[in-house]
């Protein structure tokens, strides 16, 4: 991918993000990214609100149509496809862990987890740690074929460690790069690379 596709690709993955956020990930000067985004807004390929950007639907269709050009070889790479499928299996478990983080059973009924039961929360964070142990080697194998994916391993580990250190917002808060946020972006990235659609 060149700058013309990496900037929109990350605008699509990190929804509603600022030019400096995207520049930080793609490792380009913020001026370059800002210029690309301004051009995208001027040609109806992106919209901007409060300095945050989102791709327009047609720009996303065009971007996705070029993924087979950039990543067609990975779709035929058995090692990559196997690792991707392993990720999908762990993804099912991750969604259950996040759901259990957000809810708990009280008197036989599921209610929102108000995070007043430290033992319950610690149990979930342990399960999140177990999920991470499963996904870490998968990300390593994916990154062996596509090195840029390694950044997700770092983001997930940083979020997990912050949660383990007691700042529980790092589990699933949507406004930061929480474990769930980084996971969702990795999943979205992999779906696009593989040319597949999200199941639910």
């Amino acid at each position: 991918m060149d700058v013309r596709d990496t900037v929109p690709a990350w605008t699509a993955l990190k929804r509603h993000s600022k030019a400096e956020d995207i520049a930080g990930i793609v490792g380009l000067p913020v001026e370059t990214v800002g210029r690309e985004l301004a051009q995208a807004v001027a040609t109806a390929r992106a919209i901007m609100h409060n300095d945050r950007y989102a791709l327009t639907p047609l720009a996303d269709v065009a971007l996705r149509s070029r993924y087979s050009l950039h990543y067609g070889n990975l779709r035929e790479n058995a090692a990559f496809v196997q690792s991707y499928e392993a990720f999908e299996r762990v993804n099912v478990a991750l969604k259950q862990v996040i759901t259990d983080w957000q809810t708990m059973t009280v008197g036989g009924k599921k209610v929102a987890n108000d995070h007043s039961d430290a033992d319950y929360d610690a149990g979930i964070i342990d399960r999140l740690g177990a999920i991470h142990e499963q996904v870490e080697p998968i990300i390593k194998r994916l990154a062996a074929q596509l090195p840029r994916l390694a950044i997700f391993g770092k983001k997930l580990l940083a979020a997990l460690e912050a949660a383990e250190d007691g700042d529980h917002e790092w589990v699933s808060d949507i406004r930061r790069e929480s474990y769930h946020t980084a996971w969702f972006e990795l999943h979205e990235d992999l779906l696009r690379i593989m040319g597949r659609e999200r199941q639910e």
Binding site: D2, L58, A62, S65, T99, T103, A112, R198, E200
Partner: protein, 248 residues
């Protein structure tokens, strides 16, 4: 993966129109796939003739993918919009959703209005139990125009979003402004379920509703028990209800 000769022409700006870029991108994607599958050299493959290279079926699929993104075409002859209203922007030029559109699920449970004037219009899977039911104005979120206008102008207070899909793709940037969400797809573990729980917004997934139009006042039974993973495994029907405010 094979590259078309034109795929290497990178030193040009994208074409002026995003619609043209998307269409060309999809055509090239399909030609690459067909070339790859043919096992032929480029000259041999490309000289088969235009009718063999780009088929009607291929173009129908490209149109479907463009429409699936939420795009609707501009029309120049009104007969076009009359014949295929689903693929064109509304004839009156209004952005987005038809006032008369409504989900009409064949299995929706319904009942006449009770003594308070609330008529049952269906059920869905509650993502988490809340202390109170929530009342608001149903607004279908089915077009990108509507999402973009909410994104730039804000979501009207008390909006209960009625959504087709569960990926949360379209609505993620504005989700925290909804009073409630009714989603026709997914499960309580879907991405949209996770997002709404995170924002403490009442939400029913896998909703089977009928007879609710844009602008109607509706109530979600957010106090209903949440559906659990075990419920899905054991096919236990555990739902929250959706009511429409009718005339008493």
């Amino acid at each position: 993966m094979k590259k078309l000769p034109i795929d290497s022409a990178r030193y040009q700006r994208p074409v002026a129109s995003p619609l043209v870029e998307a269409t060309l991108g999809l055509v090239r994607e399909k030609i690459r796939d067909a070339w790859q599958a043919s096992g032929q050299g480029w000259n041999e493959f490309a000289m088969r003739g235009n009718d063999a290279l780009v088929t009607g079926e291929m173009m129908a699929d490209i149109e479907a993918r463009i429409l699936a993104s939420g795009h609707r075409f501009d029309w120049s002859a009104s007969i076009s919009a009359q014949e295929r209203p689903d693929i064109y922007k509304p004839a009156d030029g209004a952005a987005g959703d038809s006032e008369n559109f409504m989900f009409a699920h064949p299995e929706a449970q319904t009942a006449d209005a009770d003594e308070r004037g609330w008529a049952l219009r269906g059920v869905g899977d509650n993502v988490v139990r809340h202390a109170k039911d929530v009342t608001g104005v149903a607004r279908y979120i089915r077009s990108n125009e509507r999402v973009l206008s909410y994104l730039t102008e804000g979501v009207p207070a008390g909006t209960i979003a009625v959504i087709d899909d569960s990926g949360g793709t379209l609505t993620a940037p504005i989700i925290d402004q909804f009073a409630g969400v009714i989603c026709a797809g997914g499960t309580v573990r879907s991405h949209l379920g996770i997002l709404t729980r995170e924002y403490n917004i009442p939400c029913l997934m896998n909703a089977r509703i009928t007879g609710i139009r844009d602008g109607d006042t509706v109530m979600i039974e957010a106090t209903a028990p949440a559906k659990t993973a075990e419920d899905y495994q054991n096919n236990v029907e555990r739902t929250g209800r959706v009511w429409l405010k009718g005339d008493i």
